[in-house]
């Protein structure tokens, strides 16, 4: 085993910082995001209309209170008071209804929009070529599909529409206040400027503090993760004490960062209350004076006290929205970047139809490299006729699996030509090509679904009878029927553990159910018990019947039954012939044979 000498310092394909703190508004991204709202435009407009209603109804109540006091209470008119109270109750209930509809509707719009976006992204990712998946870890793609989209939900549901709501409410309050007394409004709201200033300063400080908190939290989590998963090392070197000492430091750093944010909060909240109190004091001092002069009424004073209280909340909220928008922009940037990725292997514009595939395969001087100029296949040429069975043998890394990947067009070759039925596979639709190929790979992959669905892969064109037929030809029908839920048994449920051999056989049944013209089989090397061994052998024979078959063979019996054996070594074809011919040759094959296929003499 040669040691890998190079150090991997090169940047991975899509190495972005997960936490970009960027702009809160980016016209280009916003425009693109808004497009997803289009199908629900009608509802968006309704939602905005609802917010106008809510804003109007909630801001009219202090005004009505003023009327109740000035017109009825002061004038001792109890009938009038009762009427205005009923109107107040009416507005309250009506506002409640509107508020509920508005909140639910915005949530609904948000959910619908992100559902569309998620599906679009999912379908897009699936279309990307295999090379993309080699370079991008699954975890990162899953994060795009889940967490990043989730952030957008917050923006769609509580961001956009709620910003309108806040603005309308501020507008409504200003309208009523000004109409009651513009002088008192200016005086009462003079404190808004310091409030906005305090809020901005606070947000800025707290954002920095939270960044520290997140930084230390991440550090602490990393430490925990590392030392718990590496607990054995801690124990073996008896480093429990050192671990604790190190952890205490990190933990306290985290606590200190949190204390800092607590500090900002403990200053900010009293300041907000103080500003509110100053506003109240100003109303009493100025408004009270005017009221004594008879310019203002008591009712106006009381409604002003209520308005100034109402005024502060949306202002504080708006800064909160700013944060939501900021993270949403960062997430949408990442999502759109992924959506803009083109599939490297595209279908031809004018595809040739592959009707009634015969299964004639030809490699003509094929060169292939996963990484530029690092060829894993060098000048490979061979032809496989209809119905022929060919085995590929060779040591690990000889390039056998790459051949299979090329035939399915998971990757494109650099030089040479690859044809099926004489047609260059680049001229075919990928779907048409793959529909005729049955691929059974060595790493058995089963979905956490029922056995039936694992065989049919949810293909409705494959009826239950065919699933059962395939299973019984492969020889697992009996075993499946004995499971508690039979074909409906979930393969990954607790309690049911399928052996490696049984899992392998399910993938065989899958290939058989699809009845492909070309079969590609990468036999598993994992040791299976003798019983399964025989079953697998029989299954392979059944599987190959009447098809062009390419097998990466690990079992002697499979090889012996093949029409031709091709020996791969270091990316090249070194020997070709039947089992007997190659053994007599005394070359690579005969060595491999002794190593892998000859019975152990222990």
């Amino acid at each position: 085993m040669a040691e890998e000498k190079k150090i991997n310092t090169s940047e991975p394909d899509e190495n972005e910082q997960e936490e970009i703190i960027g702009k809160a508004y980016d016209a280009r991204l916003m425009k693109r995001l808004i497009r997803y709202l289009k199908p629900y435009m009608k509802w968006v407009i309704i939602a905005i209309m609802l917010t106008v209603g809510v804003a109007l109804l909630s801001t009219i109540r202090p005004y009505l209170t003023k009327i109740a006091i000035d017109n009825y209470i002061v004038n001792k008119d109890s009938n009038g008071l009762r009427n205005i109270i009923l109107i107040l109750l009416g507005t309250l209930i009506f506002q409640g209804l509107l508020q509920y509809s508005m909140t639910y509707l915005t949530q609904w719009i948000g959910q619908k929009t992100i559902f569309d976006l998620r599906m679009e992204l999912f379908e897009h990712i699936q279309k990307l070529s295999m090379g993309f998946f080699d370079r991008n870890p699954v975890g990162r793609l899953v994060t795009r599909l889940t967490n990043d989209i989730e952030v957008l939900n917050e923006m769609f549901s509580s961001g956009i529409v709620m910003v309108f709501a806040d603005i309308f409410i501020i507008g409504g309050i200003l309208f009523f206040m000004f109409s009651l007394s513009w002088q008192l409004t200016l005086i009462a709201l003079s404190v808004v400027i310091p409030l906005i200033y305090a809020t901005i300063v606070f947000r800025r400080k707290v954002r920095v503090a939270f960044r520290d908190v997140r930084f230390f939290l991440a550090k602490m989590n990393a430490f925990l993760q590392e030392h718990i998963s590496g607990i054995m090392i801690v124990k073996i070197f008896a480093k429990e004490k050192k671990t604790m000492d190190d952890f205490k430091k990190i933990n306290y750093d985290h606590t200190k960062a949190n204390k800092k944010s607590v500090y900002y909060y403990s200053i900010f909240f009293p300041i907000v209350e103080l500003i509110g109190a100053i506003s109240g004091a100003l109303i009493i001092w100025y408004g009270g004076g005017k009221a004594m002069e008879g310019v203002l009424t008591i009712g106006i004073l009381i409604s002003f006290i209520q308005y100034s209280e109402m005024f502060f909340r949306p202002i504080r909220d708006l800064s909160e929205k700013y944060n939501i928008m900021q993270t949403a922009m960062a997430s949408s940037e990442r999502i759109f970047k992924l959506l803009d990725r083109k599939a490297v292997i595209a279908d031809p514009e004018k595809p040739i139809e592959l009707n009634d595939c015969k299964g004639i395969i030809e490699f003509k001087n094929v060169w292939f490299a996963y990484v530029k100029d690092d060829y894993v296949l060098k000048n490979i040429s061979f032809k496989i006729n209809q119905g022929e069975k060919v085995a590929f043998v060779g040591a690990t890394g000889a390039g056998k699996s790459s051949l299979m990947n090329l035939l399915c067009r998971f990757y494109d070759i650099q030089k040479g030509e690859l044809t099926v039925d004489g047609i260059n596979i680049k001229d075919l639709r990928q779907h048409d090509l793959r529909k005729n190929i049955g691929l059974v790979v060595q790493d058995i992959f089963l979905f956490s679904d029922s056995i039936a669905n694992n065989i049919s892969l949810n293909n409705r064109e494959i009826p239950e009878s065919r699933i059962k037929e395939a299973a019984s030809i492969i020889g697992i029908d009996h075993f499946i029927s004995k499971l508690p839920l039979g074909y409906g048994q979930n393969v990954k449920e607790r309690g049911v553990t399928l052996s490696q051999g049984e899992r392998q056989l399910i993938t065989f049944a899958r290939a058989l159910a699809y009845d492909p013209k070309i079969l590609i089989l990468d036999e598993a090397t994992s040791s299976v018990d003798t019983h399964s061994e025989i079953m697998i052998q029989n299954a392979i024979d059944k599987l190959m019947e009447g098809r062009t078959s390419i097998i990466i063979a690990h079992r002697l019996s499979t090889i012996q039954k093949c029409d031709k054996i091709i020996v791969m070594h270091k990316g090249e074809i070194r020997e070709t012939g039947t089992h007997q011919e190659l053994l007599e040759l005394g070359g690579i094959y005969s060595k491999l044979y002794q190593l892998q296929y000859k019975e152990s003499f222990a």
Binding site: A2, R61, Y104, Y252, Y265, A291
Partner: protein, 588 residues
Amino acid sequence: MTYLRRLVPYLKRYKKTLILGLIVITLSAVFTNLIPFVISKAIDQIKNHTDGLALYKYALMTVGFAIMSGIFLYITRQTIIIVSREIENDLRNDFLEQVIVQDQQYFHFHPTGETMALATNDISAVRNFLGPGIMYTFETLINFTMAISLMLSFNVELTMIAIVPIPLISYVVYRIGKSINYKFEQVQDQFSQLTTKAQENLSGIKVVKAYVREDSETEGFKKMSLAYMDKNLELAKVQSFSYPIMFLLTGFSVIIVLYAGGNKIINNELTIGELTAFIIYLGLLTWPIISLGWIINLTQRAEASMKRLAEVFDSKPKIGDPKACRKDSDALSKEISIIKGDIEFRNINFRYHENFPYVLKNVNVKVKAGETVGILGHTGSGKTTFVNLISRLFDVEVGEILIDGRNIKEYKLNELRTSIGYVPQETFLFSESIENNIAYAENSFDKDKVIQAAKISQIYKDVDKFPKRFDTLLGERGINLSGGQKQRTSIARAILADPKIMILDDAFSAVDTYTEEEILNGLKEIMSGRTTILISHRVSTLKNSDRIIVLKGGSIAEEGTHESLVKQQGIYADIYLKQLLEEELKDL
């Protein structure tokens, strides 16, 4: 509250600060509640046109009270909330301290993610209860008493009318909170299912593509997405309900007070100022009323979290120091502090769990200090278990293991383990500098020792090529070492520990044979007179050992030197022959 009671000792540590916090929170509430009182007096003053100058007085009083209240509020947060952070810190330290002493077995049944969740989410939930929980409970109580007694002083009947909806509001908040929690958990659950589905689909992308199943996969994902959306909308239903219902109820009491109070004013039973005060008090009470339901939820969550944490705190490790040692640690340890390195396995039968089959069966081995012993065997033959027993990562129940003729259970755990240098099969390095990794065993080290260990393990030349040399950071943010480089760093770490017994468990699997030989030669020198145990599936690693043991299915199948085993024509000879062939093939 049974589990939350365990927090009492933590709270006691900060008794003085907490008492101060409770005093200032009371003061703050008193001043806050005085403000509406002042305003009511001011309005009545205005109404009666008495004294224009008095308005300045009231305005200044309002600001003055707000300043006082603000200062006390600041101190409250700086005491109670800060203490909750301190307790969180203490609790987390104690938690990890408890976790790392657990037996290796514990970690087999408790995945890392689970422990992480306890250390972060659950401890946070407890802290939420300690900080905001305690603060708001107290604040609510005082606000209630203050506001209600002041309201009573104005008018008893109106007070009664005003506070009728309060219990109802608290109850509604509590119920809604509970329902939100439940729905939220369902959303989370569906979210993780969706994540799993995406994860699975993308991991199996090759199968999907090969069988042209993109459409049906999309269909499946769509189903999950839709289910997730539905759960979210269910949550939205409750959530959208919560805000309107709360302000409906609070708004309702304000209107009722306005009506009843208005009528009282008409009948000259109340002044306008007092009515204003009532309205402001109701505003002041809204938040405490809402927070009451919220606090109950908070407490329930904290209780559930504390219960989970208590399970860890109550789980006592089985493997530890001998009892005599625990009491009188110095007396015993001094007399046996120098381990020579004789190892003996006597009739060892071992299994990881009583439901599992035996991994080692009737194993008897004697290794003399200074010997190098090789262990060969297929996967699952019990090689790793064999060496794990020596460092007491697991304890045997049948048979005994002796070091220098003394049962290993009689040694202090620290002492036993520090005399063993272990290179485990799965290389695990910390994401720190190379130097810190190599010097892991030592608390204070000199650079020369690090360099020496690095040279013996043949990692020195590689390190020398890095721009930052020994300060190079490993892992996520640093350089990613190749498998072989990692293994050699791990070997250097064991060398620096200066062990009496060295265990190398398949430590050369990613190292080429030439380098392997150099390392083994270097090791031979420093390990002279000490014990070395080499595990490998590769004959080249073992062939120069003084003795080779072949394990098969947990029992010793063959034993001898390389030459004698080759002659035996058994498992060892078979593996040897195959490996020779492999070498030949590679050179073709």
